[in-house]
Amino acid sequence: MVPYLCCIILFLIGIYAILTKRNLIKIAIGFCLLEYAVNLFFALIGYKKDALAPIYTNVSQSKNFVDPIPQALVLTAIVIGLGTTALLLSVAVRIYEKYKTLDIKEIKRLKE
């Protein structure tokens, strides 16, 4: 349970960065932290005590393996995270080019 809780704390740090930081790159960093927290949580779920990685090395091996499904899902989630981070950062670069600032308070062209 304590490892799970650490992931939740990391998740909250990410939320904190997204909510309170005004720099676009800091927001992207908070977003990455959020992603790591969720991936880590997912991977920890599949851990089985005193078990091996789910890879057979010989035919007559005992089948005491950790859960392979969370690993497969996290693999997907990592790649999705990389894609979204790249997209977010490319928008940040373009915003800097147009507005000459990364401060989110100065980037307000859209009115209420």
């Binding site: 939320i15 949580f41 969370p70």
Partner: protein
């Protein structure tokens, strides 16, 4: 019905082919895009006739991994609710694809638009037909990421700002959903939605259950832009290119937010008004607040597309009122509104694109001074607005009727009156545009473009014909069956696992 994978495989094939073929001739991307959306439309209409043969639920096992005794692989579960969504998605995306062919002359890099457009459609179709929780997340991400890029397609200052905001908020929602999926997997050790439903049926519903529900609800309410999570929507939907605004407002938020919530709340977690009254009351209150607050904000809007975007939030409020009431009339009203709003809001956003092209601006006060007559657009716009506001005989009348009936049935007369009054307010702010932009104009008449006229007439025809034949065709054949899926609730699991 073993053509079901084509709903996602075809647009994906098109999306992968487009970058290659457009290097030969850029216009090929138009052809690929329109052929594939046409084909998808044919497939979804074909499904209307094929589905009843399979007893209104068809389970497709991907990779030949059997669902019994234990669901090994990913499955598609195609039932009447999915059919309704797929139909709405593909009708609207066909109209938008036809419209885009000419509209894209305003933009550079045509093939990138088509690639992202096809990916968006693939994601939406994938969400509507899947029966696997993690697969649902993957397809939500596909459609969400392509929509982030499409919102910024014009790469102007405002587009980028809207896209950044939308992206950050949307991804927080997405990751919350992923966290909830992780918790569900830890508890049930399965990802098939029917199997999850079965597992939770026998568990006592403790804190963990409600924690999962609140995470999922938070994530999906962000995706569906209900008040108070709506603030990203007006920017994103008003800055996107017009056909994309039509898809985002018309069907995107409903597939990603409302449909998924319907599916998970009723079919997977088996909640209903009897065992979780507070949850449904919360949704009801948020829906009502959403209608009231955004209606007043909409009245003040001075921008054509922003006005339409704000009105989407209040219409989402109507859908959530139906969901919150969750009696027979409420569900029918909500499902019909999903369908009706997709067609009419799509139509209104498409006219916005044409007006912008003619006038070069979308500011209503500037448009008032414009010396051009746009009577065709005016006519089409007014028809769409009448349908959206709920004037008979158009399709949009029936959802409002059923929602009011649903409120009366729950003995909430005040709610029924609110729904009626704000329906009229909808008409008021929508007709503001007709009044200021389209009537009392001098000057030359603008020439209509034949392709965009086809898509306008297609949507107007649908709104009109579905309205006339609502009780004869649409309600008994589609809406009633879809509402049965919702009301049947947890029985979904048994049906899927027995197939």
């Amino acid at each position: 019905m073993n053509y079901l994978p084509l709903f996602t495989a075809l647009p994906l094939l098109g999306a992968f082919l487009t970058p290659l073929l457009s290097k030969i001739w850029e216009r090929l991307s138009d052809i690929i895009g329109s052929i594939i959306t046409t084909f998808l439309l044919i497939l979804s209409i074909y499904s209307i006739f094929l589905l009843p043969i399979f007893g209104d639920l068809y389970v497709y096992e991907i990779g030949k991994w059997p669902i019994r005794p234990i669901p090994l692989g990913i499955v598609f579960t195609f039932d009447s609710l999915s059919l309704l969504m797929v139909l709405a998605i593909n009708l609207l995306s066909f109209a938008c694809a036809v419209y885009s062919i000419n509209y894209l002359d305003n933009y550079t890099a045509r093939w990138k638009f088509w690639t992202l457009f096809l990916l968006l459609i693939a994601g939406l179709n994938g969400v509507a037909i899947t029966g696997d929780l993690f697969n649902l997340f993957v397809f939500i991400e596909i459609s969400a990421i392509s929509s982030y890029a499409l919102v910024a397609f014009g790469v102007e200052k405002e587009d980028l700002e809207a896209s950044f905001k939308y992206q950050v908020i949307g991804e927080v929602g997405g990751l919350t959903i992923l966290l909830a999926i992780a918790l569900i997997y830890a508890k049930t050790s399965t990802l098939n939605m029917a199997d999850i439903a079965n597992t939770f049926l026998n568990e006592n519903k403790g804190t963990l259950f409600w924690f999962i529900i609140s995470l999922l609800t938070f994530g999906f309410l962000i995706k569906s832009a209900l008040f108070p999570f709506h603030f990203w929507l007006p920017d994103a939907h008003s800055q996107a290119p017009a056909p994309i605004s039509a898809i985002l407002s018309g069907i995107f938020i409903k597939t990603l937010g409302v449909y998924t919530l319907f599916r998970l709340i009723f079919n997977v977690f088996g909640l209903n008004r009897n065992n979780a009254p507070h949850y449904f009351n919360l949704l009801l209150i948020l829906g009502i607040l959403s209608i009231i607050i955004t209606s007043f904000i909409t009245l003040k809007q001075e921008n054509y597309k922003r006005l339409l975007a704000y009105s989407t939030i209040s219409q989402i409020g109507y859908i959530f009122v139906g969901l919150g009431l969750s009696n027979f009339f409420g569900i029918i009203g909500a499902l019909t509104l999903i369908f009706a709003h997709a067609l009419s809001k799509g139509l209104l956003f498409l006219t916005a694109g044409s007006v912008e092209r003619e006038a070069g601006t979308l500011d209503i006060n500037e448009l008032t001074l414009l010396k051009k007559r746009m009577s065709f657009y005016g006519l089409v716009y007014t028809l769409g607005a009448l349908s959206l506001a709920g004037i008979p005989p158009f399709l949009g009348f029936f959802p409002k009727l059923f929602l009011i009936l649903g409120a009366i049935k729950e003995k909430m007369l005040g709610l029924a009156i609110i729904l009626g009054i704000f329906s009229i307010l909808t008409l008021a702010y929508l007709l503001k545009i007709t009044n200021k932009v389209f009537t009392n104009k001098e000057g030359e008449e603008v020439k209509e473009n034949s392709l965009s006229a086809i898509s306008f007439l297609f949507l107007v025809f649908l709104i009109f014909i579905f309205g006339i034949f609502y009780f004869n065709y649409l309600q008994p054949n589609l809406i009633n069956k879809a509402s049965e899926v919702v009301i049947r609730g947890i029985e979904y699991a048994r049906l899927v696992l027995m197939k």
